[in-house]
């Protein structure tokens, strides 16, 4: 299926065929990472602006590498060290950057809906690189690509997403993507970290770790942010880690021997994942990171590359 959308804002709005187009495109670009000269001319003369209002290592770096390998001019904007630090509003900054005619703006922001807001305010293509607790579509795409490479297919696979579901954009994008591709999803965590009515998104809920991870093909552990404790959502990191941290013992006792352990990073070692699990044979955490570059190349190519291909 071809790609016709101007933006990549959510996984929720995509058809299964569109998700597969994104994943297939990314898969075909993976070999570039192995080349001696990692550069193709696909986006030569195109400008990609990374507009990051939240700290990010993996996502920002991989968008930057992706753009550069495709020969685009990549500009990194971070809120500190810019006019945003002088009090310029997000919308004003966006309009100003828009006036400089970028082809793609990749946006990361702590407010849900920030990417949709830019799609309304700017005329270029917008890629959502994470908006609040709403969505993080490229993370879900790289997770899905990792799963397909390891498992060979999607249909019928079962996944547990464990941890702070309430505040996780990664969980939301993955729930939508996995459901559309025929996978079953269970979310697990203490009830204070499970958002209300999450079942209506088509997933099951488990309030015990062993229930969540039993017999699933994939376990995705989410980062627990320290702030949750101060907000009164969990009593202590110690208690959270005891009941919801994934140790090798719990893994061996309850999970399948061929289970994949995933994590969107950054990992709190010793909180949600014990080091033996994070670095152990089940873990595909670094495969996820590697696929992030290919996924972001695919997204940039589909959003910015098609028109130049027509023109050529």
């Amino acid at each position: 299926m071809g790609w016709t959308r101007k933006h990549l804002l959510t996984i929720r709005e995509l058809e299964a065929a569109e998700i597969l187009t994104l994943i297939d495109t990314a898969a075909s670009l993976q070999e570039i990472a192995g080349r001696e000269i990692k550069k193709v001319p696909a986006l030569r003369g195109k400008t990609v602006v990374n507009l990051f209002y939240e700290n990010s290592t993996r996502t920002r770096t991989s968008f930057e590498i992706a753009g550069k390998w495709l020969s685009a001019d990549v500009i990194n904007f971070s809120a500190s060290g810019s006019s945003a630090a002088k009090g310029e509003s997000f919308v004003d900054t966006a309009r100003n950057i828009g006036a400089m005619s970028p082809d793609v703006v990749v946006v990361r922001h702590s407010a849900s809906g920030a990417a949709a807001l830019l799609a309304r305010e700017m005329s270029c293509a917008i890629v959502n690189a994470g908006d609040g607790a709403h969505e993080h579509p490229t993370q879900a795409l790289l997770d899905l690509l990792t799963i397909r490479e390891k498992k060979g297919h999607f249909e019928g696979l079962s996944v547990a997403i464990v941890g702070d579901i309430a505040h996780s954009r990664v969980a939301r994008s993955n729930i939508h993507g996995m459901r559309k591709l025929g996978m079953t999803v269970t979310v697990g965590g203490p009830p204070t970290l499970i958002p209300p009515y999450v079942q209506e998104l088509g997933c099951k809920v488990a309030y015990r770790l062993d229930d969540a991870i039993r017999d699933v093909d994939v376990i995705m552990m989410l980062r627990l942010q320290q702030e949750r404790m101060h907000a009164g959502l969990i009593p202590s990191l110690r208690e959270y880690s005891r009941y919801w941290g994934l140790s090798l013992d719990k893994l061996r006792a309850h999970a399948r021997p061929d289970v994949l352990i995933m994590h969107p990073g950054p990992v709190n070692r010793g909180v949600e994942l014990s080091p033996e699990v994070a670095d152990g044979p089940y873990s595909v955490i670094l495969d996820q990171v590697a696929k992030g570059v290919a996924v972001r190349m695919g997204v940039l190519l589909l959003l910015a590359g098609s028109k130049s291909a027509e023109a050529a």
Binding site: S89, V91, A111, L117, G132, E135, P196, L201
Partner: protein, 425 residues
Amino acid sequence: MSILIRGGRVLDPANSVDAVQDVLLQDGKVTKLGSKLTAPPGATVIDAAGKVVCPGFIDMHVHLREPGHEYKETVATGTRAAAAGGFTAVCCMANTSPVNDNRSITDYILARARSEGVVRVYPIGAVTRGLEGKELAELAELAEAGCVGFSDDGKCVMNAELYRRAMEYTLPFAAPVISHAEDHTLSRHGAMHEGVVSTELGLRGIPAAAEDVMVARDILLAELTGAHVHIAHLSTAGAVRLVREAKARGVRVTAEVTPHHLLLTDEAVRTWDTNMKMAPPLRTKRDTEALVEALADGTIDCVATDHAPHAVADKEGEFDGAANGIVGLETAFTVLHDRLVRPGVLPLATLISRLSRDPARLLNLPGGSLTVGAAADVTLVDPEAAVTIDPARFAGKSRNTPFGGWTATGAPWKTIVAGKVVWEA
């Protein structure tokens, strides 16, 4: 100076009138109703055939923003917006800057209303000094200066003991305490209703219980004190149930509902349009259905708009950070007539009553009827007018409406205050 309104359908719920009649207004009063009245010499004659003639609408919950936030609205622009919506009187909330928590501010607002206003303005005084929820404002002096009710609207008085004392202290004034019922510890940082939509959008939700808990508390305090408590902008099915049950037991509780809580749900937030953001938030279909039913059966006493003007800069940008509130004066009748009266959900006479007679009754205000001798505050509506709501044409200063672009049938046609036409379509 006199006006003869000829041949309109006179709808006056207070007197159980629904008939084609002429209405004569002289010297600021209603002087005669009947068929084929003769126009006195010099009278202006309005041919109202096909129009509905009703008591002037009263909005008991608006924010005129003056003093302090004149860039959003002023007494001048807000009362013009009111007139354009068929309202002949408004009650303005106390969250101005400075707060209307003392007589000098009330006097100022009333002076502005006399010099700049085109409809009647009745201030609501603050319950607590600075809306801080710590000490009582000078409630007796506020009442004497002309405040018709007391409210910290925008904030809830979280201290139950203080709120109890406010209810007791105001017992002699025949002016209710008006509750913004929101438990801030439950709603804190919420941007929308807590439900499946907030979960999908990743926006922090405000549970219905944040309202219900406070409605329950305020009903119990009304029972304890014997005071009249009015619940502002009721938005949940649970609060409807609590008010209905309390009224059945004879508690002095009344309630209002806004057009947006009657007609819109949290699904509208999916657009990320910040004009869908207000406190309390848009709830679910189950709630809107309960609200409509309660408005029809009288559990909810009246419609109020919670007209809350905001400048573009307050509303553009991220949903989380956008100001709460929307304007409502210029759209209230039109959207309710089109979406509730025309489909047969709410009788026109009930809507008129909820907009005029009922708020007048519960605040002890003049107006709300076309009784001979009453003030000549009259609203004429054209039930067949086809309109497209265009915020650019609002008489008010701000444009923050969720109803922009709606097409609807039925609109205010002329607004008459004290026997003078102050607005016409």
